[in-house]
């Protein structure tokens, strides 16, 4: 049976991999992050057979607006889970809050191997502030 990966798990995996390589600040300017996560999601889909996983979400962006509702909902959930902090007042920047111990725990529990998260962080998030 394939393991289901949820949007929260995928986002937590990416954030954990980012935290472990020392990246902690993000800009939501304006749809740049949506585009990066959409590309990362496409990579996940392309590897779903060999990773024996099945995503139950997409991070596809709206073609006319460039943002992804499911990514933004997952970011809010990550804020509730104290993985990230959205900065007031407009929340256009956020900080990664989880420490290395928690990041390791998320990556160890994820149905997707950490090497995959490391590779997409290198590919899609390497130049992030």
């Amino acid at each position: 049976m394939q393991n289901i990966i949820t949007s929260d798990q995928f986002l937590a995996g990416v954030i954990s991999a980012l935290a472990l390589c020392g990246k902690s600040k993000f800009q939501l300017s304006d749809t740049d992050l949506d585009r990066r996560f959409s590309a990362a999601f496409d990579d996940l889909v392309s590897r779903q057979s060999d990773l024996n996983i099945r995503p139950n979400f997409t991070f596809n962006v709206d073609t006319m607006h460039g943002d992804s509702a499911s990514l933004r909902d997952a970011l809010l959930a990550a804020k509730e889970d104290k993985l990230i902090a959205l900065n007031n007042p407009t929340f256009h920047t956020f900080d990664i809050k989880l420490d290395d111990v928690r990041a390791e725990r998320y990556l160890n529990r994820s149905p997707v191997p950490r090497e995959f998260f490391q590779s997409i962080v290198e590919k899609h998030f390497a130049d992030i502030v």
């Binding site: 304006d30 749809t31 979400f57 596809n60 607006h65 509702a69 809010l76 407009t90 256009h92």
Partner: protein
């Protein structure tokens, strides 16, 4: 008759497309043949709506509304199960459908009046107006019995849960619900095309995108199906599809007000004010927002963008507030969730004895009231299952599903056995890191569609052991407990991102998406909901104390 499946067959989009075609055939072909054979003519009609007053219908709309495809929506309640908690909220998808048509006209009229300020005599012409009104009538045809409640149960099942992702990847759209996917394929089916073709025979110009009849039909079908899944249908007005699916679409304008009104809860949405704050701007391609620019073809003349006046930010806030109040007061009412869980438990129980496709057909072929109080025998007949092929567990599952549906009919509802909070302010360990992170991790585990089963299995086993220790007079078996207990975690409320896409249109400066200007309203709305429980364990009343202790 078939025997129960040993392993759920994986459904593909082709399976859904094929079934949507058969479904459309059963709900349209005989009706259309009858119209054609009798050369039936249709006249304009007016219907009265308790919210919006008189609503005018064109002849083709009367023909579509009178079809079994739309009449079926009279038997599907808009809010699934909410009327068990808010007795007035028994309104149906049919009433909502007519209300959406009214709101489409409301938006189109407003945009056309604004176009006149720029000497544009008819910004949205007759063809697109009629197309959008037809979209309103068909946008909910993909709903099964109990609307989103059955749909959410189906979408969790192995064999079905990959369909939405496949659809999104194939058509390059965001996540779509099963009902939207089904409506999309109904519109693209041959029987629906046959309906449109017959209507063109009666009234050759009701929509005319092309002089070539076949090409015209193709364009009507393509634009209608694209609009219901939120895809562009016009280059000149690139966001025209958002009248059907967008930040302040006709669907929201109707259901935000109708659901609140019927439930008797307050709504902050002032539609006349919102309409007053809509703005349009003619723009050259150069001045269009970048992403829209990338997605439109070259045209002669201006492109037209619509959005909200700079002074209208407050009406977008009202949309956010109305949405949040609907979730806080109605959709996420704990008792509403309890009833939803009972219905979903019945369907999930049947998934163990029926294939995914059979179960989908079951909820599309029976309506709300037919399912309530249905007997085990009728369930088996509806699922085309030979009872002699069922083992004891299978029989128990069917009987339990029938019991749940009977309990619902007579309002013997499950109760909260346990509720999980976002915060525990009186717990001295609340801020202790291990506990805080442990609670978050626990929430994530029980939110996961597969991992929750492991937790539930432990809970069920423990309740079973406790029953034995307490010498309960009529202990439930493990299978019965598995169906009777349910766990539901409550996620983010959807919809905020879509509202925040509305463009703010200053008089002279470039259009700006409201999400880039205002404080993040989605985060604000999430904060508003944060005092609500994050999850529940539900159980029959007589078991609730025991489940709580376990």
């Amino acid at each position: 008759m078939c025997s129960p499946p040993s392993k759920p067959a994986e459904l593909t989009l082709a399976d859904i497309e094929q079934y949507a075609g058969k479904f459309a055939d059963r709900h349209l072909t005989e009706y259309v043949d009858d119209i054609a054979s009798r050369h039936q003519q249709f006249s304009r009609k007016e219907v009265n709506d308790p919210l919006w007053g008189t609503i005018n219908l064109t002849p083709i709309e009367v023909a579509l509304l009178d079809s079994p495809l739309i009449q079926r929506l009279r038997s599907i309640r808009q809010l699934g199960v909410v009327h068990w908690i808010y007795p007035g909220a028994g309104h149906t998808r049919f009433e909502h459908t007519i209300g959406v048509l009214r709101q489409v006209q409301n938006l189109v009229t407003a945009l056309n009046v604004l176009g006149l300020q720029y000497n544009e005599q008819q910004l949205i012409g007759q063809d697109f107006t009629q197309l959008l009104r037809l979209c309103a009538l068909v946008h909910d045809t993909g709903h099964a019995a109990f609307s989103h409640v059955s749909e959410l149960a189906l979408e969790t099942l192995p064999g079905i849960n990959a369909l939405a992702v496949s659809f999104s990847q194939k058509f390059k759209v965001e996540d779509r619900q099963l009902s939207e996917i089904f409506a999309f394929y109904i519109i693209r089916s041959l029987p629906f095309r046959g309906f449109l073709s017959t209507m063109l025979d009666i009234e050759s110009n009701f929509i005319s995108f092309s002089r070539d009849r076949n090409e015209n039909l193709n364009l009507i079908v393509e634009k209608m199906s694209d609009a219901v899944i939120g895809k562009k249908i016009d280059d000149r007005i690139p966001l025209l599809h958002e009248v059907i699916s967008g930040p302040f679409d006709a669907d929201k304008l109707d259901y935000f007000v109708r659901d609140a009104h019927q439930a008797g809860t307050p709504s902050l949405l002032d539609i006349s004010r919102l309409i007053q704050k809509i703005a349009v701007r003619p723009l050259s391609k150069h001045d269009l927002p970048d992403l829209i620019k990338k997605n439109v073809q070259e045209i002669t003349g201006s492109y037209w963008l619509f959005g909200i006046k700079w002074s209208g930010v407050a009406v977008l806030d009202e949309l956010h507030l109305a949405r949040v109040l609907l979730y806080a007061k109605i959709y996420r009412h704990p008792k509403v969730i309890a009833v939803e869980q009972m219905l979903q438990a019945a369907l999930i129980s049947l998934a163990a004895v029926a294939s995914p496709m059979t179960l989908i057909k079951f909820v599309y072929e029976f309506d709300d009231d037919q399912l309530l109080g249905i007997s085990s025998q009728r369930i088996l007949a509806g699922l085309a299952i030979d009872p002699s092929q069922l083992d004891e567990e299978g029989k128990t599952r069917v009987d339990c599903a029938a019991k749940l549906l009977c309990d619902l009919k007579f309002r013997r509802l499950s109760v909260k056995a346990f509720q999980i909070q976002h915060r525990y302010p009186f717990d001295p360990l609340e801020k202790e890191q291990t506990q805080e992170e442990g609670m978050i991790d626990f929430g994530k585990e029980v939110s996961h569609p597969q991992n929750v089963d492991q937790f539930k299995k432990k809970l069920v086993n423990q309740v079973s052991e406790m029953q034995a220790l307490l010498s309960t007079s009529k202990p439930l078996s493990l299978v019965e407990l598995d169906i009777a207990l349910s766990i539901r975690m409550v996620g983010q409320t959807p919809g905020a991102t879509q509202i925040a896409r509305a463009y703010l249109l200053p008089t002279t400066d470039r259009p700006m998406p409201s999400r880039t200007y205002t404080v993040n309203r989605a985060a604000w709305a999430a904060s508003y909901m944060s005092d609500q429980p994050s999850g529940y364990v539900f159980a029959p009343d007589e078991l609730a104390d025991l489940v709580f202790r376990c």
